[in-house]
């Protein structure tokens, strides 16, 4: 492998940022980004699963027979998803409630399985960790950015916290007379905001 660990990490942040560059894993991207808080929560949950499953898959890559590899990956991924679900329920109940069914759906998120199959099963533990972390953080940033755009357009404000820490609060970003553009936080608004963001990303040439 010619690429360095740092390259494996940073590719997930821009060049292969999953929802925007690869247009993968769009179900949670469209579903939970009604606010920045939800987006960050979902992103971090996915990052945890991605990191853990990448580590385990890469550790076990010589043991897992290739014919049943997908079944093995799903067992590993599903186990970590249940861990995340239980922990969110125990420590961050409001996030758990607002993400709802999207937490169990991380199991079938194609980014997680995709990284296990395309990267972790062919590379060592350290590059796999870097890869999982990079893709995960890239995914979190995408969700947070889309969530922020929709929340600002839809409510004219931005507020929340990250798992009870780092509260942020910005009110009346466009001035008090701003009429909330509720469309942006409804489902069709997700598609349009995502489309506009994709378009802007494409204006920046990828190297």
């Amino acid at each position: 492998m010619a690429k360095s660990i740092a390259q494996e990490f940073t590719k997930g942040l821009w060049k292969e940022i999953a929802p925007f560059r690869l247009v993968l894993g769009l179900c949670p991207v469209l579903g939970v980004t009604t606010s920045m808080k939800n987006g960050i929560g979902m992103g971090l949950a996915t990052t945890f699963v991605l990191l853990c499953s990448n580590i385990l898959v890469s550790l076990l890559r010589k043991v897992i027979p290739s014919k049943v590899r997908i079944a093995c990956y799903i067992i590993i991924i599903a186990s970590f998803v249940i861990v995340v679900e239980q922990m969110l329920q125990a420590y961050a109940y409001d996030i758990y409630k607002s993400l709802g069914v999207f937490i169990p759906l991380i199991v079938v998120n194609c980014i997680v399985l995709g990284r296990a199959e395309a990267f972790a099963s062919k590379n060592g533990v350290v590059p796999s960790m870097a890869d999982g972390l990079g893709i995960g953080i890239g995914f979190t940033c995408s969700l947070a950015a889309l969530g922020a755009v929709r929340e600002i357009l839809g409510t004219g404000a931005l507020q929340g916290d990250i798992f009870g820490y780092l509260p942020y609060h910005l009110s009346n970003i466009f001035g008090a007379s701003y009429e909330p553009f509720v469309f942006a936080i409804q489902a069709p608004g997700a598609f349009i905001c995502l489309g506009l963001m994709l378009c802007m990303m494409n204006l920046v040439p990828s190297k």
Binding site: V63, I64, P65, K67, V68, A71, C72, I75, I76, A78, S79, I82, V83, Q86, M87, Q89, A90, Y91, Y93, D94, K97
Partner: protein, 197 residues
Amino acid sequence: MGEMIKMVVVLTVLSVISGGGLKWIEEFAKPKIEVQVLENVKGPAIREILAGASNDPVESRFRIEDGEKEHTVFVGAFDGKATTVVLESEGRGYGGLIGLLVAVNVEQEQLLGISVTTHTETPGLGAQAKDNPAFAAQFKGKPIGQPFKITNDGGDINALSGATITSRAVMDATNQALAFYDKFKPQLVEEMQRAVK
């Protein structure tokens, strides 16, 4: 053949480790989740059923052991007098277990109300059991003498349209709670006075 055995062994070992690990996680998280559910879901629901109570029903609670199972009972007092117990029960709905709270007025032997707490029913159909207050309102003030049934089964509760299984599960859970109430009535009456004081 060797490959076959390897596949079976690897899958089995992985599943066993995963199952065992998750059991451990569940044991670890269970008490914390219970506290969260009590605070975020059941608490508001209990206070809503017992609107106007002079005590805090979530604070005035006690436990009753029924064989191996332990039940939590919440007590509602009105004008300083403990009259109502809120029992928890579960019914098997379409998408999993439905948690139900059943409030029984002990003096008048009638239901004060029911409320669905946790569920995984289909949004728009089964989830109406929680989201549509008209469904639960049917139980208000009903005498508890006989088991509750939906109209399809010869009872007098209108089922949620498109969600018969969910409706039956709620009936089932209500009847279970009432069976528990009948079984432990003397103990409940005694403990509820103590819990409020």
